[in-house]
Amino acid sequence: MTARDVLAARQLALVRALLAGGPVPDGFDANRVGVEAAALRSKRRSIASHLRPDLADLLEDRFGPLFDTWARDHPKPVELSFRADLDRFETWLYDEGHLERPRRRWFRR
């Protein structure tokens, strides 16, 4: 294992703890990692509501809890733009029955 490999494994474990509910790596202050995880979720949720006000309007009070539930299982892949990432959220909302799939998609965008 090179120094890069070791660092990669450690950084990935930390990122999993922060983004995807993974275990907090040994030696870290679990409370503070939790504080940071909440801050990152809040930042991502804020970007989501800015980019997709339509979803925020349709879901009203359910937007925050549903987004957080989805986000924990779907950390953002590097290769996806924020918009493409939110298209995944939209699809999930339909698939899980949280929103009714619009019948006429052609008028959107």
Partner: protein, 271 residues
């Protein structure tokens, strides 16, 4: 003087406050977020500022220079293209990583301050520098937590980074205050350990304290404690530039003008 170009007092240019930035008194320079700018035709507001002779620094947030993965050449090339488009005298990034294993945290995360992590960082920085047309300044970040096995202090880590890469320094006094509150960094020790003759400019921003943790939000007023850290820095060196960052919850123009005036007053007093 630190050898870096004289910039003065500035503010982060954002599309939401473009007309404000144009109209504010005492804006000697601005900074743009490279990821939010197309290297093609510039926003008109930036063209106006450039025509006035206002220097524009390009600031990046997504190079993940502290990451274990090799530097993404396309991101460095974009930063280089933006720097060329705005005629930037220098560019800046953070000592941080933002992604791992294909997952994007969307945020600047601290790196372990170990010899091994420093070697990786130095290698990444050198690769980025090779593709940049102007000097690169590197910035200390705000952390909420720290790695458990640090071998170096924040100051020592940055000092060695500067020594080995020849990079300039961007000292964020709000981040330094955050780390004083959150992870016990001593601002005076940090400043004493840095080669301040390599200082390019300084960031100032607002934040808020929740449950004993200081959050560097860039969406609140600049607390007096952050200006006190700026004063500590200015007692040691005359910074070539000091820039106010505001990214959300934009206040009235008069409030931003007052914050710029307060920053200028601290910088002048230290001279």
């Amino acid at each position: 003087m630190t050898g870096a170009p004289r910039l003065g007092v500035g503010i982060g240019w954002r599309p939401e406050i473009d007309l404000t930035v144009e109209a504010l008194p005492g804006v000697d320079f601005v900074e743009v977020l490279a990821e939010n700018i197309h290297a093609g035709p510039l926003p008109e507001s930036l063209t106006v500022l450039r025509a006035r002779g206002v220097p524009v620094v390009a600031h990046a947030v997504s190079l993940s220079l502290g990451g274990a993965e090799p530097v993404d050449a396309a991101r460095v090339q974009h930063l280089a293209a933006v720097a060329a488009a705005v005629g930037a005298p220098l560019v800046s990034e953070h000592v941080a990583f933002t992604r791992a294993g294909g997952l994007d945290s969307g945020h600047l995360l601290p790196v372990p301050r170990t010899r091994d992590a420093l070697n990786v960082l130095v290698d990444n920085v050198r690769r980025a520098q090779a593709d940049l047309p102007v000097p690169l300044a590197l910035e200390n970040i705000a952390a909420v937590f720290d790695w458990p096995d640090n071998e170096l202090t924040e100051g020592q880590f940055l000092a060695e980074l500067v020594d080995r890469t020849g990079c300039l320094l961007l000292v964020d006094v709000a981040n330094l205050y955050a780390n004083a509150v959150n992870i016990g960094t001593a601002p005076a020790v940090f400043l004493d350990e840095l080669p301040l003759e390599r200082l390019a400019y300084v960031h100032v921003a607002g934040g808020v304290t929740h449950d004993g943790v200081y959050h560097d939000t860039h969406a609140h007023a600049v607390p007096s404690e952050v200006l006190a850290v700026l004063a500590e820095l200015c007692a040691r060196v005359d910074p070539p530039g000091v820039l106010l960052e505001r990214d959300d919850d934009y206040p009235a123009d008069a409030d931003l003008a007052a914050e710029l005036a307060a920053i200028r007053a601290v910088a002048v007093r230290g001279r």
